[in-house]
């Protein structure tokens, strides 16, 4: 449904704390706006959940609400433990899912 970009270092040292950044393109329709022509409320369609796993374990999880802007951006820090993929899963209203993963090499 949407386009995502994830940025993380390709290789890190074991025990190092590194930053992961992600941006996804999404309208984040709040459900409060009205169509200017018809006057009807535009139904809510936002990303309501972001879950990030690192090597299969969840390291970052959040529930989102209508106050989150369009094209939401997230950044957080993780401690490097083992080589593995960091996988982002965004879930939108209605159940649509966008996934993006990057591989981390722990030296």
């Amino acid at each position: 449904m949407a386009k995502a970009r994830v940025k993380a270092p390709k290789s890190v040292k074991k025990g190092e704390v590194f930053e992961v950044k992600a941006l996804i393109s999404h309208n984040m329709e709040t459900g409060l706006r009205k169509d200017k022509k018809t006057g009807k409320t535009i139904p809510r369609k936002i990303i309501n959940k972001l879950s990030v796993t690192y090597g299969g374990k969840e390291v970052f999880g959040s529930d989102w609400h209508p106050a989150v802007s369009a094209n939401p951006y997230v950044s957080f820090f993780v401690r490097a433990s083992e080589s593995g993929p960091i996988k982002f899963v965004w879930t939108e209203d209605g159940g649509g899912v966008t996934e993006k993963s990057v591989d981390i090499l722990v030296a």
Partner: protein
């Protein structure tokens, strides 16, 4: 109303690094935000807004840079060509394109800006349908193209055939209009740096356009900005791509000479 915040959920990421994406990465120190007495809109933005622009991943308009890069190489129209067919995937022409436009087009006998040039090429060379002005595709392609000139100083030609159009643009800038009887100059030259209600007035520099405006929650073209200004002084906005706006674009680009191309910039 849509909320006006860029959702920075966790921490403020300000790191500027080389990006593996399509965009041109220029370190912040190399950008020229002040040239003579001219200051980019960047210098009027809050630190938080500047941080979003400085971080190529945090800048939401970079999604459009990626899209634009794909459109550049996408074959469209009857001729079976893409932009890249003639110009190459890595076109040297793009490296200073944003600094030069709008330029005088002898065939049309008037100034032509990037959007108009794209549509002309699409129709004449590619046999494709022109893009609508403020469509996602047009924004993506113009953002991608202008982004390739990022960091280069604005340097439009106002000599020779461009002179009458430059004069017309200047006249439009200085001319009072609308129910509020205000010219561009009234705000953007006399009161730059002051607030007009909650908004910061800047010097009306065009070097960052198309800009990602947090209020719009998407990028917008320079002509959208012109139309917005026209209607806030309660004047009738002109059409996208009208001669008056293209002339104004030339004059505004000249006013910002020397400033780095910032496209896509982020403003509040």
């Amino acid at each position: 109303m849509k909320k006006q915040f860029q959702g920075i959920l966790m921490g403020a990421a300000v790191a500027v690094g080389l990006s593996s994406f399509a965009g041109i990465a220029i370190s912040a120190e190399k950008m020229v935000y002040k040239s003579g007495d001219r200051n980019s809109g960047y210098t009027y933005a809050t630190k938080e807004t500047q941080a979003i622009q400085d971080d190529d991943l945090g800048n939401p308009a970079y999604i459009y840079v990626d899209d634009g890069a794909a459109l550049w190489s996408k074959v469209d129209g009857k001729a079976g060509k893409s932009c890249a067919t003639c110009h190459g995937v890595e076109s040297a022409m793009l490296s200073d394109l944003a600094t030069r436009y709008p330029v005088y087009n002898a065939k049309l006998g008037k100034m032509q800006n990037i959007e108009q040039k794209i549509n002309q090429e699409r129709e004449e060379k590619m046999g494709a349908k022109p893009y609508k002005w403020e469509s996602g595709q047009m924004l993506a392609l113009t953002i991608y193209m202008r982004n390739q000139s990022r960091g280069k100083p604005m340097n439009v030609s106002i000599d020779g055939p461009a002179v009458p159009f430059f004069e017309a643009g200047k006249k439009y800038f200085d001319q009072r209009r609308g129910q509020l009887d205000m010219s561009c100059k009234n705000c953007h030259e006399y009161y730059a740096g002051n607030r007009i209600r909650a908004n910061m007035l800047t010097e009306a520099q065009s070097n960052g356009f198309p800009t990602y405006r947090l209020k719009w929650q998407k990028p917008g073209s320079l002509h959208r900005r012109f139309r917005g200004c026209n209607s806030t002084v309660r004047a009738q906005p002109l059409a996208y791509g009208s001669d008056e706006y293209v002339n104004l674009e030339l004059y505004v680009a000249w006013r910002g000479r020397g400033l780095s191309v910032e496209a896509p910039s982020v403003r509040n």
